[in-house]
Symmetry: C2
Subunit: 487 residues, 2 copies
């Protein structure tokens, strides 16, 4: 990370003046970009995807130097980054996302004659994206938030993460080159750096929405700025999640060893630096999985992303270690920049007595194993937890408790899994990466999957508008050939 | 209003203890109500509609006593109140609003094997609704916010508006009677009163969203409470709008008298106490419509809703009268509880020099006529205004400026009208009653029309879930017979 720090100092913080210029350019670019039809924006997204693919080896090498995440993982991430741009390009071309609704004039409408009203979704305006540290490609400068905002028709200013400054700059160059060669408006996509520049951007009147993936504290601070503006704006923050896994008695008895090994693989993936890391494993005491777990946990150390993450991780593990009723099951070195995995252990009775203290994110290779006596305690814990990105069940099809548990977890989490593990979030149409606070600041939205695009849209209705003045998506002639809901 | 005040004192403010009981009941009712299938909730909405219809004459009489809005207007409002409940019942039964998306497992998915992921919208939780003063029926205790939250599957606690306490209580009785007779869970629908109870409700952990129609100051205060919670929640506030109308030169020349008379009818409707009242009329100086306007404005007084609205109205008109460049065109009595209409006058040059000062809501029978020289000034004003619920154009099909004006206004307003007037908001599928701040606190949502239901929903994805544990809307067998997007 020495090289990274040097480079960050070299790039420096974006000055007030440079930020103002970027925001002016983003506002002007928005006026042009937002007026293009979706099918005319899509080729630019595809062009960015192709350029990133071409620069892939160089970007992966840079990313590995700055994040230590390893080539294999970063290559997968590059595939995802490129794929989501292409998928979003397809999705906007298809046009379902515009939600075009056409109510023709209806004199016999029961509440009184209905005028011709037509509604569709239109882009919000320039967006500031706060890039994540843990997915330097897929949630970095050209990651999911940037891709979905561009796809929606917004201009984007990305606040680069200081953990990978050279990579951020390299990605910005690739994206800007692709956009320029494709004839996109200048200023459509800009990158800024520095905490102060980020704070200034989120409160700037030219910015109409913010998107963020990162820590609870940083995300909450930005959310407070966005909602505290004289003109509050939407802020889509993905903040914190423990992603509990509930193992039923039958599953533990029939598949104990598989549950143990799969859990260990999931909570240690990416050195535990995944938003969907399973941080709590609820197991029946009777199955004695705690006897198997220590052997399954690897003792080799893996590097954390940066100093700040290490400090947070060390503190979080230390606090949980010291909490009443918590014992160490696997004594990893949690105070190192390259920690080995740690497993802690408690009971559901202890957890239910102090949920705020014990249900806490440890961003790194650590998890808490919670033993229960009766399966009804699974329901009690499901009721006690806060909002989550994911909640998973390891169960058997004939588990009597399954239905109640699924319903309780659906009320708390954005995604509920059955006999799979939450890490490895697929980019699909139905994906939901979100959840009630503190998982996110906007429970009705997702930051992964094609529905992520809709965060950056707002509905506009046109009443009694002549055909030639209507947006093409709402015309009777339907020149875009999209789905229109016509009443 | 003497009777009203007496009754308010009689009902009193909801005590802390009574509030806590209601919120407990709402939380318990939510658990039951949210698990019903949409088609099982719909009959309860229809039952409320029928009960309101039956009690209609009594409710209208009470509403007229407490609001002075007049039988004719209140009867129309009752029709709307009943209709929207029935429309929402139909809409949820149809099931499109669930946005069911099914991604079956796909080993060849380009970013890596895709698991089975299925996503739908589910109810948020207990909701607090702050009823409006100006639509005692359609946005009162059983108005659009309550109807859409119930339709979504949420339980509702309504903070009644103090302007019509006896009506609020009567409506609550009708709704609760209908729900009881239909077998709805106890506590599904409650009513509270008092500012303190409302503030306590919006910060209570049991409440998961708020909806509000009212003033900028009150709405902003509640928004700040909702977003300042330890666990922020969505707050859908409809606050303030000036609803400018842009008259092109051609329209003024060809249809001047009609524009004048229709504008006057629209800005004086409901004593000017409509959220969509056209508060600004931009007219070409050359057409001299200001000469026709005074004769068209009625001099008869109409009662305002309550003392607080009168104070705000008097102050707003007074401040605008005293602003530089503003002159009185029709000198109504704006300091009375029963004011006669006031028309003020300025130029677009003055407005552009002080948009914050001159573009202001006056909630009552007053408007500002703005004369312009060149049509390009219409574009300049469109650029200068803040977020609006509506913006309207009176134009001719061959107006060269129309396209640019429509695009600019679509970026500022939730609804853009052509040759119609913004008052009289139809409840339809495509209706959009919302807009960027300060029109609302949530630009991606509407409080009128069937899309209002989606405010109270959040997406949940199910991964690898066996058919019998999936919600019916996501099952392969599709027992609800709803639209599913299957990839």
């Amino acid at each position: 990370m020495e090289a990274a720090r040097e480079c960050l100092a070299m790039i420096g913080e974006t000055s007030q003046q440079a930020l103002a210029q970027q925001l002016d350019a983003a506002a002007e670019a928005f006026r042009q970009w937002s007026r293009l039809q979706p099918a005319d924006r899509a080729p630019l997204l595809a062009r960015i995807a192709a350029a990133l693919e071409q620069a892939g080896p160089r970007l992966v090498a840079l990313a590995d130097e700055e994040t230590s995440l390893g080539h294999a993982r970063l290559e997968t991430e590059l595939v995802r980054t490129v794929f989501q741009l292409r998928l979003f390009a397809q999705e906007v071309t298809r046009g379902i996302y515009l939600e075009a609704i056409i109510d023709r004039a209806e004199p016999a409408w029961p509440m009184g004659p209905r005028p011709d009203v037509r509604r569709m979704l239109e882009p919000l305006g320039p967006v500031v994206v706060f890039a994540a540290s843990n997915f330097p490609l897929a949630f970095g400068v050209a990651g999911g938030d940037s891709a979905s905002a561009l796809a929606a028709g917004c201009s984007v200013v990305v606040k680069a993460h200081p953990g990978h400054p050279r990579l951020s700059e390299a990605i910005a160059d690739v994206v800007q080159g692709a956009l320029r060669s494709g004839g996109a408006p200048e200023g459509l996509f800009g990158v800024i750096s520095g905490t102060e520049a980020g704070r200034a951007a989120i409160v700037d009147p030219r910015i109409k929405a913010g998107a963020f993936t990162g820590s609870l504290n940083a995300g909450r601070a930005l959310f407070d700025l966005a909602t505290g503006r004289p003109d509050p704006i939407p802020f889509f923050g993905e903040l914190s999640s423990v992603n509990p896994v509930f193992v039923t008695k039958a599953a533990a008895e029939r598949r104990g060893p598989a549950v143990v090994s799969e859990f260990v693989a999931s909570f240690t993936a990416g050195a535990g630096q995944l938003c969907t890391k399973p941080g709590i494993l609820m197991v029946p005491a009777s199955a004695k999985l705690v006897d198997q777990l220590p052997r399954a946990v690897p003792s080799n150390p893996t590097a954390l992303l940066n100093d700040r993450i290490q400090t947070s991780y060390t503190n979080a593990v230390q606090e949980l270690c010291e909490a009443a009723g918590v014992h160490v099951l696997v004594n990893g070195d949690h105070a190192a920049r390259r920690p080995s995995p740690t497993l802690l252990r408690t009971t559901s009775a202890e957890l239910l007595g102090n949920p705020q203290g014990l249900v806490r994110e440890m961003f790194g290779p650590a998890a808490l194993v919670v033993e229960y006596e009766e399966e009804s305690e699974l329901l009690a814990v499901a009721r006690a937890i806060d909002g989550q990105l994911t909640a998973s069940i390891q169960g058997e099809d004939d588990d009597a408790i399954a239905d109640a548990l699924v319903r309780l977890l659906a009320a708390k989490a954005g995604r509920v899994l059955w006999n799979q593990w939450p890490t490895g979030v697929s980019v699909t149409y139905a994906q939901q990466h979100g959840g009630p606070y503190p998982a996110t600041t906007a429970p009705s939205t997702t930051s992964v999957g094609t529905q992520a695009i809709s965060r950056f849209l707002r509905p506009v209705a046109y009443q009694n508008m002549p055909e030639h003045l209507l947006p093409p998506a709402l015309r009777d002639a339907n020149p875009l050939g999209i789905a229109q809901r016509i009443s």
